[in-house]
């Protein structure tokens, strides 16, 4: 037997293939694309690559970012949550109506915020229950609750907006902490939290297993149903967090808040390399994904591109990123 020579050959081969596969990772490629985009956009406008502008963009991406983080978990299991934008709208309205000093409740602001978070969490939990216990596909379930939650929001708001919050409420959405917008700290904490949970814990591992082979995961004793309910519940909670920050940032409450947010969040997740079929993806990828989308939006706007043009560019980038990813997957997966 020539086992020894085989082994050295193989390990060398493995080593170089490992380096190659690192360079070809979706996250790395995306990072390179992002850097190129930043350089390109910096040429378009002097105001783009300034600390002030970038920090301000951080404010704007927090809501999408939070929702995209929990969306990553859901998409890795092969599911989807279309209702997050509506949950955001519902939670924002609840927050405003509960607090409104001229309204029926006139609760303290702290209590209103807690109720807002609870409602979002409950809305996500309901999604999870319908998906797991009744076996309705996530796409259908959340498409239905997208309409349902938005309808509730509109019914509760009666087309009135709530404004005039106390000054301290705006710290979260408009204030700074150590020179960085407050909500970016919140986003950072959740980024770290979700990244650690997904990559380091039993729960995270189970999420990947479910996405790759749900039946196999069940046969391995993974409590698939419970975990799925947990991630949809978490998604609702994150949408409520986003609602809180959103209201604080724009100083007002309206029932149409967050509409279309789900698509931006899904775009960020998919751009970040998470397979829409489930089974693979990472929080780092999602983070790069939502940063890139925000930078493109802002940079193009500063360069004088219209909003419509910006949407076209973002769509094109998304398709290109997916094509590149597929190309890589096919080359490296060819065994």
């Amino acid at each position: 037997m020539t086992t020894t020579t085989h082994t050295t050959d193989d390990s060398q081969e493995q080593m170089s293939s490992r380096i190659r596969s690192f360079l070809l990772r979706q996250e790395v490629i995306l990072l390179i694309i992002s850097l190129l985009a930043v350089m390109f956009l910096a040429f378009g406008s002097d105001r783009f690559l300034t600390t002030d502008n970038l920090l301000n963009q951080g404010r704007l991406l927090t809501e999408i970012g939070l929702v995209a983080l929990s969306m990553t978990f859901i998409i890795i299991t092969g599911g989807i949550d279309l209702s997050v934008g509506s949950i955001l709208g519902l939670c924002a309205i609840i927050l405003g109506v509960m607090w409104d000093p001229n309204g029926a409740f006139a609760l303290p602001l702290e209590v209103a915020v807690v109720i807002c978070l609870l409602v979002g969490t409950l809305a996500g939990f309901v999604n999870g229950l319908i998906i797991v216990r009744l076996g309705v596909p996530p796409l259908i379930t959340t498409l239905a609750t997208l309409a349902l939650y938005r309808g509730l929001a509109e019914g509760i708001s009666q087309a009135r907006s709530v404004r005039g919050y106390p000054e301290e409420f705006y710290v979260l959405g408009q204030g700074e902490f150590l020179g960085v917008p407050t909500q970016l700290w919140v986003l950072l904490i959740f980024c770290i939290l979700t990244a650690v949970i997904l990559s380091r814990t039993i729960f995270g591992r189970a999420i990947y297993a479910i996405g790759n082979n749900e039946l196999g995961a069940r046969f391995s004793g993974v409590p698939v149903g419970r975990y799925k309910i947990m991630i949809y519940t978490f998604s609702g909670f994150m949408a409520a967090m986003a609602a809180w920050i959103f209201v604080s940032r724009v100083s007002t409450t309206r029932s149409d808040m967050g509409s279309g947010l789900e698509l931006d969040a899904i775009a960020a997740v998919v751009l970040g390399g998470t397979s829409i079929f489930g089974g693979s993806g990472s929080i780092i990828g999602t983070i790069i994904g939502f940063i890139l989308i925000q930078l493109l939006k802002n940079g193009l706007a500063l360069s004088g591109v219209t909003t419509d043009g910006t949407i076209v560019v973002i769509g094109t980038v998304l398709i290109l990123a997916i094509l590149i990813n597929n190309f890589i997957q096919r080359r490296s997966g060819n065994g």
Binding site: D10, E13, Q14, S17, R200, T201, I202, F203, R205, A206, Y208, A209, N212, N213, L215, G216, A217, R218, F219, S220, G221, V222, P223, G279, S280, N334, G335
Partner: protein, 509 residues
């Protein structure tokens, strides 16, 4: 006998990233012969037939048909030249009818290019009739048919292309004994008509019943081609593994202790109807039965995958309510499922991640996975089960079938079970890996684990079990001790009402 071959392969080499799948392999197929292709899993059989059927292109070497060099760029071109393949995983459309499946992609056309349904049905009937298949309606939906019938449809489909070479990849793996006999009848019929058949099987007895010549591959290399009449099974096995295996079933004596699992009047409709069973520590109980007799369903009920509707499960004498696999695992039950691809493994994930999946708690601290402990577990599994893999980082998909099966077994051994239920533990596994798995089962029993082994291979059941229990239609219908059991008795119990069917098949062959 020395006719000219229809198909010749010479100096075929094929490399995949990381593996030299074939080195200088060769084979030839004559008209009207059954040519068996033997080798352990990973020996290169699948690669070779994929080259013949146009799925892969060889790196070097020639394919010749009737002496003419041919190149197949894709399976369609191979089909056009008369090479048809029936893969292990059948490739039919369950929602379509028999006739539609047979003519999928080349339906007879009428005026204006529309499908000529009448011609299609008529020709499908002709093909079925030419194969002596009378129990299949051309309008039956594939989804309603048994595995055996579906396979006959596959064969009919192959013949609709006027196949001159028919490749069959482990055609009997999922078949009942009666269906195997019918298949043999059809294969013989085709041989008489001059079709050259390449037949892959892990069951040596099939090679001796059916084949004219046999080619053996080992580690991607050509070993030899022999006339079946001139070799013995011992010779073939030693050609395949490069060493002599004295005893395929090294059942070791074990101390049989107290009952670890007692099942009383367990119900879970439709296929688990009042089952009673006792399993003792150190005992291997073989659970025999036809496919569809409810063996897996019973096992999955005990494992909590499909929780019981009524009845009792006692573990170490204590009555327990098992409502999901997690609870079963906590009570020391492990279940190695029947289908490693969809149930046993997460094939896109790494070996390390598969081995630890059922026992993540034991390699983690307060919910966080301890990488070092997980790596150690993977390395230990690779070592103790002799899994052929680069390392625990290898994706399971890229391992051979036998090694994948070992990963499933390793995964469940990591759970340190007291009760081990194995559903077809050696299905689609090569001879060497099979012997290793059998030895492992024996050793586990010696360590005091109660093993319930579900198997469709009678020699395996008879060779390994201390006691044999037979299921039919969701009930336990017979029980034999190791001493009193014989192949005939077990088969008779398995199909007590199926005698008429057997004699009908006898006439067909």
């Amino acid at each position: 006998m020395q006719e000219k071959p229809i198909l010749e392969l010479e100096h075929i080499s094929k490399r995949f990233p990381g593996v030299q799948a074939l080195t200088d392999a060769r084979m030839d197929v004559r008209a009207g012969e059954v040519h068996a292709l033997l080798g352990e899993n990973g020996a290169g059989k699948s690669t070779l037939i994929k080259i013949i059927s146009g799925v892969h292109k060889p790196d070097t070497g020639d394919l010749r048909m009737d002496g003419q060099r041919v190149v197949f760029n894709n399976p369609r071109e191979a089909q056009a030249k008369g090479v048809a393949t029936i893969y292990q995983e059948l490739s039919l459309y369950p929602e379509l009818t028999v006739a539609e499946n047979i003519f999928m992609g080349h339906a007879p056309r009428g005026l204006l290019g529309s499908v000529d349904w009448r011609a299609m049905r008529r020709r499908a009937e002709e093909i079925l009739l030419s194969l002596n298949i009378t129990d299949l309606g051309v309008d039956d939906k594939i989804g309603t048919l048994t595995v055996g019938k579906r396979q006959r449809v596959e064969i009919a489909k192959a013949l609709s292309f006027n196949a001159r070479i028919l490749i069959m990849d482990e055609p009997t793996a999922a078949l009942t004994e009666a269906d195997v006999q019918r298949l043999f009848g059809i294969v013989r019929l085709l041989r008489e008509r001059g079709v050259g058949i390449v037949y892959i099987s892990h069951r040596l007895e099939e090679v001796f019943t059916l084949a004219d010549r046999v080619t053996v591959l080992r580690d991607g290399h050509y070993v030899d081609t022999k006339a079946v009449r001139e070799v013995t099974s011992e010779q073939l096995i030693s050609m395949m593994v490069g060493r002599t295996i004295d005893n395929l079933f090294p059942k070791l004596p074990a101390q049989i202790g107290e009952p670890v699992l007692e099942v009383r009047n367990l119900w879970r409709k439709p296929l688990c109807k009042g089952v009673n069973l006792t399993l003792r520590a150190g005992e291997i109980v073989g659970l025999a039965g036809l496919v569809g007799s409810g063996r897996s369903e019973f096992a999955q009920t005990v494992f909590g995958f499909t929780p019981a509707q009524s009845g009792d499960i006692l573990i170490n004498g204590k009555r327990l309510d098992i409502r999901n696999p997690g609870e079963a695992m906590r009570h020391g039950i492990a279940y190695v499922p029947e289908d490693r691809g969809t149930q046993g493994l997460i094939r896109q994930m790494r070996l390390r991640e598969n081995v630890s999946l059922a026992v993540l708690r034991s390699v983690s601290h307060s919910g966080f996975i301890d990488n070092r402990a997980e790596h150690e577990l993977a390395d230990k599994s690779i070592g103790s089960l002799q899994i052929r893999a680069f390392s625990g980082e290898q994706v399971v998909n890229k391992l051979s079938g036998g090694n994948q099966q070992k990963v499933v077994v390793a995964k469940w051994l990591a759970a340190k079970p007291k009760i081990l239920i194995m559903d077809e533990p050696t299905r689609g596994v090569d001879v060497g890996a099979k012997a290793e798995i059998h030895r492992l089962i024996s050793e586990l029993a010696q360590q005091g684990i109660g093993v319930l082994m579900i198997s469709s291979e009678l020699p395996e059941v008879l060779g390994m079990s201390d006691r044999i229990v037979v299921m039919r239609e969701g009930e336990i219908v017979a029980e034999f001790s190791r001493e009193e059991a014989s192949q005939e008795k077990v088969v008779a119990a398995m199909m007590r009402d199926a005698h008429s069917a057997v004699s009908a098949q006898g006439a067909a062959t």
